[in-house]
Assembly symmetry: C2
Homo-oligomer: 454 residues x 2
């Protein structure tokens, strides 16, 4: 009784009242009833994968479980550009069913971008603009779903936001078909492209073998992987015993030697009647020149590749005279949600979920990483790693994963790769085509009153 009376009679301290008023005002602006919640900003970056939306699903579904802490997840339309131009998507406008459908929707649901923020000294204005937008929209969390360039951006935003007096909790969410992020055992997106490449190699090889007597003897499949041969290596899973396809894998890590290559092709055709070659788009000569350099460069300054398969195939025909065919999987491989790896889908979701959980536990400037607990049975868990350990670093295919002759994968590689393609995770279908999420993608009303041109 005493305490109660005392409580009721004591005047409210002035600073408490003003804090209450301020919070009320913020919550009104937010259109929520939650008092202390901040908003989150989620953006997709770089080349999309079959499961990047699965990570988005993990982020948004998890955030929705903590409405007192995260009021809304705003998604960047076309990635980080959406933050710079204050063109954000209000994911609260999407139903639970639509968000759940992100689980099996390929592409980037909110748009992704090949846009790398420059160094702070070169373009401080971009970082200041980001913080301006974050401030205006009460964005206290930044989830950046991308590769090593993106982790660099997330790290810088974390540092700059602090120095600008508006500390933002910055979390990386790993994504890359290239599997080239360090620290994490593997990257979400890779398992599915690996499965696509292994399955396609197996299927096409059976086709070629059955026709080899009178038709195509050499088949070349071109796959992605600019600098790291992880995807090409995955093709090796199609073969289990000597003589099985693929007979030759051309890795970016192994300088291409025409004579040794042609010798092996001839040996294969003479011994097995056919030769299946998986070639990485990044296959290069000893001097570093790509077998097929298009000469154009993307926004990150990387050489844009494509068309190494015909180079290799024509080399075979000109020197050995064998009839050939080639396929270029290109975007089909990274968007092939229809043949996604179940392990990959589960991990893509887990890193999205973990990013939110880490953020709510006060962690910042970290990325959820996949830690392999055991190979057989395959077990994994999620841990966190500092962004500084990940940003701008590429993990190459270790030499011990490549056979001595440079044309195949070792048992160690198989042990690593095999679990990542395990399990099928089929999308639902309507009339023979995969069902996909249909998002409204309604814009968040701009608040800064200023424009920013990227």
């Amino acid at each position: 009784m005493l305490r109660k009376r005392h409580f009721r009679k004591l005047p409210m301290p002035r600073h408490f009242v003003s804090a209450m008023l301020m919070r009320t005002k913020i919550s009104e602006l937010r259109g929520t009833t939650t008092m202390s919640a901040m908003n989150a900003f989620y953006a997709q970056s770089g080349g999309v994968t079959a499961v990047i939306n699965t990570s988005a699903c993990g982020v948004i579904q998890t955030a929705r479980k903590y409405p007192k802490k995260i009021a809304n997840v705003y998604a960047g339309r076309n990635g980080i550009i959406g933050a710079l131009t204050e063109d954000m998507i209000d994911t609260n406008k999407e139903s639970a069913a639509t968000i759940a459908a992100l689980m099996y929707t390929p592409g980037g649901a909110f748009g992704s971008a090949r846009y790398k923020l420059k160094g702070i000294d070169e373009n401080r204005a971009e970082y200041e603009r980001l913080i301006e937008v974050f401030k205006a929209h009460d964005i206290g969390y930044f989830f950046y779903n991308g590769g090593n360039d993106s982790m660099d951006t997330a790290l810088k935003v974390s540092q700059i936001s602090k120095s600008m007096g508006f500390p933002v909790t910055c979390l990386g969410v790993p994504k890359t078909v290239d599997n080239d992020l360090p620290v994490t055992d593997n990257c979400p997106g890779f398992g599915s492209v690996a499965k696509y490449v292994a399955v396609s190699t197996q299927e096409a090889a059976m086709d070629v073998l059955s026709m080899a007597k009178t038709s195509t003897k050499v088949f070349v499949l071109e796959v992605m992987g600019r600098h790291a041969g992880w995807i090409a290596a995955a093709g090796g899973l199609a073969g289990k015993k000597p003589g099985d396809a693929p007979h030759i894998i051309l890795f970016p890590e192994i300088p291409f030697q025409q004579r040794a290559f042609l010798k092996r092709v001839r040996e294969c055709v003479e011994k097995y009647d056919y030769c299946v070659i998986v070639v990485s788009e990044g296959a290069a000569f000893a001097n570093g020149k790509f077998l097929a350099e298009a000469g154009t460069r993307d926004a990150f300054g990387h050489a844009q590749l494509g068309g190494v398969a015909p180079v290799v195939a024509n080399m075979v025909r000109e020197n050995l005279g064998y009839k050939f065919h080639y396929a270029i999987a290109d975007y089909l491989q990274r968007s092939a949600r229809h043949i996604a790896s179940d392990v990959d889908v589960k991990q893509a979701y887990a890193v999205g979920k973990a990013a939110v959980e880490f953020a709510l536990r006060g962690k910042t400037a970290v990325m959820p990483v996949i830690k392999r607990v055991s190979d057989t049975p395959y077990r994994w868990k999620i841990e966190s790693a500092a962004l500084g350990r990940i940003a701008n670093k590429e993990k190459m295919l270790p030499r011990r994963y490549i056979t001595t002759d440079g044309f195949g994968i070792t048992e160690a590689a198989r042990r690593y790769l095999q679990p990542l393609i395990k399990g099928e995770n089929y999308p639902p279908y309507i009339n023979g085509l995969p069902k996909v999420a249909k998002l409204k993608n309604r814009p968040v009303k701009p608040k800064t009153g200023t424009q920013f041109v990227v």
Copy 2:
């Protein structure tokens, strides 16, 4: 009583005894206990499909149900070449489980061949050799699984075998991804490649759209279809409403006009931010010249194509400057058993089964055809059609299936195509890869004592 005594006491007629002896001898030779059964010869021809083995499964499983009529199914190793060279596979050596696994095994389980028998006047020796081998192995049934060239061969063998006094029951079993056989509503093999192309187009288009702001604006997918645009048309199923990808389909049936094409590409990019193009390998100029003619010809004398996608993509870049990517599906599309259409699998099995049943009902020189009973709900049945109506004829995509502007498919085309990609028919998986039949492919002991060089 009287009848029984009479039976027991009557002497067996001489001709009956000799017939018994003869049949016993034949059955011993066959290694079977069936008295009046003949053997069957089954061969795969031309480019294989994701479901040609499903038809083989239908033939063999059905034949095994009638051991008193068909003692064994011999399969030609590398198609018809296996008959000419007396290199046949004893399918009775395969377990029921192995034959059942053909249901979901891509490629050609016994080997296929691009080998067309010439006209009788040009090469009578080949036909006489076939009959010699058939005679030596008691082969009374010939099941030829192929396209229109193969139906021509089956028809000729039926005629010549009769004129040579060893009439063979000849059945065609339809197969071609090109869907260009007449009479039948569609061809087994097409539904699955159509599903692959429609699914891949949808997936890749979502990828491209999500990146279009800063990256690729034009994506080109090259698909098969030498003279008929059925496969390219299937890509059109990915789009449902205006603005959906694919925005442009380039059919072999519509002469390519660069100006109209480039105009449409620009309109799409300006209106929808991106442009997805499905191009048939057979796309050609008004003068009949292929957009990408490799200059080489296959065993049937057809121009060997490949590489129209880069031609189209470079045309876009040079004239409009848009960033592009292209994929060449090549063999991946026709071997993609992992994304086979359920309707296709069922039909592929049904034509194999029906071929045996027709043969046992005394029909010859016919092919099971698929007759569409209704579009919605899709219903179909199997009928028989004379080989003469099918041999050497190509069914083109009707003009009414192509929109007036020549770049898309009409509602009539959708009504036709839609049911063919319906349903998923997934193979079983082991460790992340599709399980496939492992055949022994044991040879049948040669009996002619003569060699034949093809």
